[in-house]
């Protein structure tokens, strides 16, 4: 048995997962969700902006909220300064006189405490969160509100894109976020959502209060809340055209730190308090497909990377050995005719290409569904070239953190 065969089950599962997403996108519930019109209901809404040292972006975030297309008497903006040590407090004070804005200063206690502080001071029917590094499009709230026409829906998520991607890494993340738009849209139609991201997710306030508000959630309070909502039997919807743009890490180091937090939070939540959801018949898509495949994708990401590394090292060593003593002018150049005969096609490689092409298709679909601004072409290129090489680093880091019980700070 060749070593490549170890990868076959993982590639087969990846292909199955992407096929499932594509089929689900074509199913009636997803088509209906895409055709959903704006609700005639106008519930009162509070948007909480938790801030910790966000002096550079909080004003723009607050301004984007004030430009939302929603009746002013029904929309309240709550800026929560979670004990910032920079000039966030002063920056917030620019909005102190605005009738729609309420400002809260508190001691630093973490994002979940800032959210709870905001929830505590409002009696709005829907409560949303917008991270202080994110900006919503004016019609985003109307799109979100439509999701709550169904009384069993306790939360709704938006369509996130990267805010003005500048470097290749941010373009790669933009493609990844477009992939996320497709996934959340498909998952929502079969009840498979397990995270309500910080940028512009909304909740029924009475459900939040019933469930006891936000918790620390292993530094992923949004995921922990979503899992708790699902465990309680409520639904989570998605508004694929509720466009929201967020700032993303610009360096590999900061990206790996952020994703380590996300993945370790996922593992700690899902393998800990919410293990009961895995395989749960009551939560069909979530329990039988989404969570098991998410766990499997972490394992396969690490294993495939290790396998790739091993095969590369083995082949490189063999090539160096064979070429030792031969002049570099010969050994460094490729030899042989350029001919279809030498096409390096094998089952492993072709299946991997199909998986990649399906991923690129799902990214493009996400961009089209959300109608997000910007060009995705650079994102597709950088995703193809970089994503598979970078992801294993945070997967390995997060998995080892969980296995060794290591806890890191929010920005470490």
């Amino acid at each position: 048995m060749s070593l490549e065969m170890l990868a076959y089950p993982f590639l087969f599962i990846a292909l199955f997962f992407e096929s499932f997403v594509l089929v689900t996108l074509l199913s009636k519930p997803a088509r209906s969700a895409r055709g959903r019109s704006h609700s005639t209901k106008i519930p009162s809404i509070a948007v909480i902006v938790p801030c910790w040292n966000e002096v550079l972006t909080v004003a723009d975030t607050a301004s984007s909220l004030l430009m939302l297309d929603y009746p002013a008497d029904k929309l309240e903006i709550i800026l929560v300064d979670d004990g910032s040590t920079d000039a966030t407090r002063e920056e917030m004070s620019r909005f102190a006189e605005h009738p729609q804005v309420r400002i809260i200063h508190k001691e630093n206690g973490g994002k979940h405490t800032a959210l709870n502080a905001g929830i505590a001071v409002t009696d709005a029917e829907l409560v949303g969160c917008l991270d202080a590094d994110s900006f919503a499009e004016p019609d985003a709230l109307r799109e979100i509100v439509s999701c709550f026409d169904n009384p069993r829906v306790a939360a709704a998520t938006a369509a996130m894109s990267v805010h003005k991607p500048k470097n290749i890494l941010q373009h790669m993340q933009n493609a990844e976020y477009a992939f996320g738009i497709t996934l959340r849209h498909a998952f929502a139609s079969v009840g498979g959502i397990y995270v309500t991201p910080g940028p512009f997710s909304f909740y029924r306030r009475d459900v939040l209060n019933e469930l006891g508000g936000f918790r620390y959630g292993h530094q992923t309070e949004d995921m922990e809340m979503a899992l708790r909502i699902r465990r309680a039997g409520y639904g989570i919807e998605n508004a694929p055209r509720a466009r929201v743009y967020t700032n993303t890490p610009a360096t590999i180091t900061s990206l790996i730190k952020q994703r380590t937090r996300w993945i370790s939070g996922f593992l700690r939540n899902v393998l800990g308090e919410y293990r009961c959801l895995i395989g749960s018949r009551r939560h069909e898509a979530l329990g039988a497909l989404v969570l098991p495949i998410a766990l499997l994708s972490i394992a396969s990401g690490i294993l495939l990377f290790m396998l790739m590394l091993f095969l590369f090292a083995r082949n490189a060593i063999a090539a160096i050995e064979v070429r030792s003593g031969i002049p570099l002018s010969y050994s460094l150049l490729p030899h042989g005719a350029i001919d279809w005969f030498y096409l390096p096609a094998n089952f492993y490689l072709l299946i991997a290409v199909v998986v990649l092409l399906a991923s690129l298709a799902l990214i493009t679909i996400g961009k089209r569904i959300s109608k997000a601004t910007g060009n995705i072409a650079l994102g597709l290129v950088s995703y193809t070239l970089l994503y598979g090489l970078i992801v294993p680093f945070w997967l390995i880091r997060a998995t080892s953190d969980v296995a060794l019980g290591k806890r890191r700070g929010w920005r470490n």
């Binding site: 997962f17 096929s19 079969v190 497909l289 064979v322 031969i326 030899h335 094998n346 089952f347």
Partner: protein, 221 residues
């Protein structure tokens, strides 16, 4: 059936269909490779026979003819490279690969004999290397030796390299091995009738060649 179960079932069918299509495409490509090799092999057989016939027709003055096995040897080398690639893709136990290797070995022996006859008739001294390797796990240096010979062949076009799988079950090859008295110690070389075993480095291999043999000018055949 629930929507999730239905979608999962459809997705499973799509996955199986895609995997099946990929497997079919790979199989088709490999069949096309074997077909290509068969075509080349047939052409080489004709070329080889043509050369032999020309040689016989002009027995009285073979050196005046246009008969030259240089082109044939180059084509043989290309065929050998393709065969090696196909062997890596399909496995050395593949029956079609084994059959083509047998035909390849026969063509090599024929070309070697023609070259020898021409050199005797014309008084030329071509440099020929008979290289015997083994695929049965008893030759650690065969890959290195093969690459070094490729380098020498590409660098010195006048060099004629014939490589043989020592363990190939082919009567003519067994006779050839018996006639050349090459031992089963690998890699084994016969450079202009001189036996040499093992491979340490390119420099050591080059020392086994006659003086001045490794020059980039093509000697008259």
């Amino acid at each position: 059936m629930s929507l999730v179960a239905r979608n999962a079932l459809i997705a499973l069918f799509i996955t199986i269909a895609l995997a099946g299509t990929v497997a079919y495409a790979i199989n088709y490509l490999n069949s096309a490779r074997v077909a290509e090799l068969s075509t080349i092999e047939e052409q080489l057989s004709i070329d080889s026979l043509s050369l032999e016939t020309q040689f016989s027709l002009l027995e009285s003055a073979p050196c005046d003819s246009n008969a030259s096995s240089v082109t044939l040897t180059t084509e043989l080398a290309d065929f050998g490279n393709r065969l090696l690639y196909a062997e890596n893709q399909l496995g050395s136990g593949n029956s079609q690969v084994v059959r083509l290797k047998e035909r390849y070995s026969l063509l090599e022996i024929r070309d070697y004999l023609i070259t020898k006859r021409l050199s005797e008739a014309c008084g030329t001294k071509p440099i020929t290397v008979l290289y015997f390797y083994s695929n049965e796990g008893d030759c650690n240096d065969c890959d290195k030796a093969g690459y070094a010979l490729s380098y020498l062949r590409d660098t010195y076009p006048a060099l004629r390299v014939y490589s043989f799988d020592y363990n190939l079950d082919l009567g003519a090859l067994k006779t050839f091995i018996a006639v050349t008295k090459v031992k089963d110690t690998f890699p084994a070389f016969i450079i202009n009738d001189k036996h040499f075993y093992g491979f340490t480095s390119l420099a050591d291999l080059e020392k086994q060649f006659p003086k001045g043999a490794l020059s980039t000018t093509t000697p008259k055949l």
